[in-house]
Subunit: 210 residues, 2 copies
């Protein structure tokens, strides 16, 4: 499907305002993004519909496509917003002493999962990614390019990407067991105790120790 | 809801058994369990239907209820079968030198995820647990009582349950990033290299080292 054209036949750039008769106008792009986040969070990638997103934003479905392209790309834009807090991880991890990077990474990442405001969007992304290969691929690209690559770039170890991913894996697994499966005593353990137990393992991954 | 009865127990259309078959047609329980595993794996806990399970097993829905009770309990029985290979983990971990328990646990658990035959049922359970609280609770009970409690019982450390769960969490996270999100290079890394990198962290959790 080709993008809508302007009168002179030139492809319109994404993100440019569309015709107002599609329900556009000021804030339309943001409204679509907000509606998309809600729709994907509630129904998951598979069941989310562009029609419902358009309805939620008060615009024509064609405008959703105009701004974002196909469903996959709407999802990419929506999870980038939902994942924005997590994307601060590289700054948090890399600013400060390398000796305590593991603790900072553990505290930051587990902190995102402690707070329902940041947890729910993460949980919605995980649900979509687990259920759907396309959603997993979109999330993978985001995690690779915006988290793992940036953390790995600063590590002075062999296999920095693999090391960064193993560190992240430990924290992902804790989030799964603590907040999704809710296995006790991990689900109710004091967060500081969890950080104290896990930070040395994260630190070893990041510093290349065995 | 009761099924229609016949007086003579003659076979009926749509696989409805007579009352006399409800207690134990040969292999009926196993057929129901097989059909339940397939239905939960394909459609997830939310969308799985007892009617479809009964159809797959060639029995009346009433017989499914008779053997297993409500949907939650059918799910519990189905995942216990699907999870059976993983339930050998405590034996694998605890038989052998405590000094290499971390490596055995990593190799065993990651090995289950390497092989599609054992991976797919695990993936199906994770999908259901992530999407549905009831499914998560059923899985949690199984993991707690049959895996974590048994491993923790053998650990000579403070907070053995928490330690066992943190060890498991690391491996769960690797499975998520390697087999669900498929982040590179972890997704394609040689399994022996992953084990070599992660076994020391698992070992420290199990042995109570920091």
């Amino acid at each position: 499907m080709s993008a809508p054209r302007t009168g002179d036949g030139a492809p319109r750039k994404r993100g440019r305002p569309a015709r107002t008769d599609l329900g556009g106008g000021p804030g339309a792009r943001e409204r679509i993004l907000t509606a998309a986040r809600a729709e994907f969070a509630e129904r998951g990638y598979d069941k989310a519909s562009i029609r419902a997103i358009a309805r939620g934003a008060g615009v024509d479905p064609a405008l959703v496509h105009h701004y974002f392209g196909p469903k996959e790309q709407i999802f990419a834009a929506a999870i980038e917003v939902a994942f924005a807090p997590a994307l601060q991880a590289p700054d948090v991890v890399l600013k400060g002493s390398p000796d305590t990077a593991g603790e900072r990474m553990a505290r930051f990442f587990l902190g995102l999962w402690e707070d329902p405001v940041t947890r729910e969007p993460l949980l919605a992304i995980v649900r979509s990614a687990v259920a759907n290969e396309t959603a997993a691929a979109v999330f993978r690209d985001l995690v690779s390019s915006r988290l793992m690559a940036r953390i790995a770039d600063e590590l002075d170890v062999a296999d920095p990407r693999l090391r960064a991913e193993l560190a992240a894996a430990h924290l992902v697994g804790i989030a799964m067991l603590r907040h999704v499966i809710k296995v006790e005593p991990l689900a109710s353990a004091d967060m500081e105790e969890v950080i104290a137990q896990v930070a040395p393992a994260i630190q070893r991954h990041l510093s290349g120790a065995s």
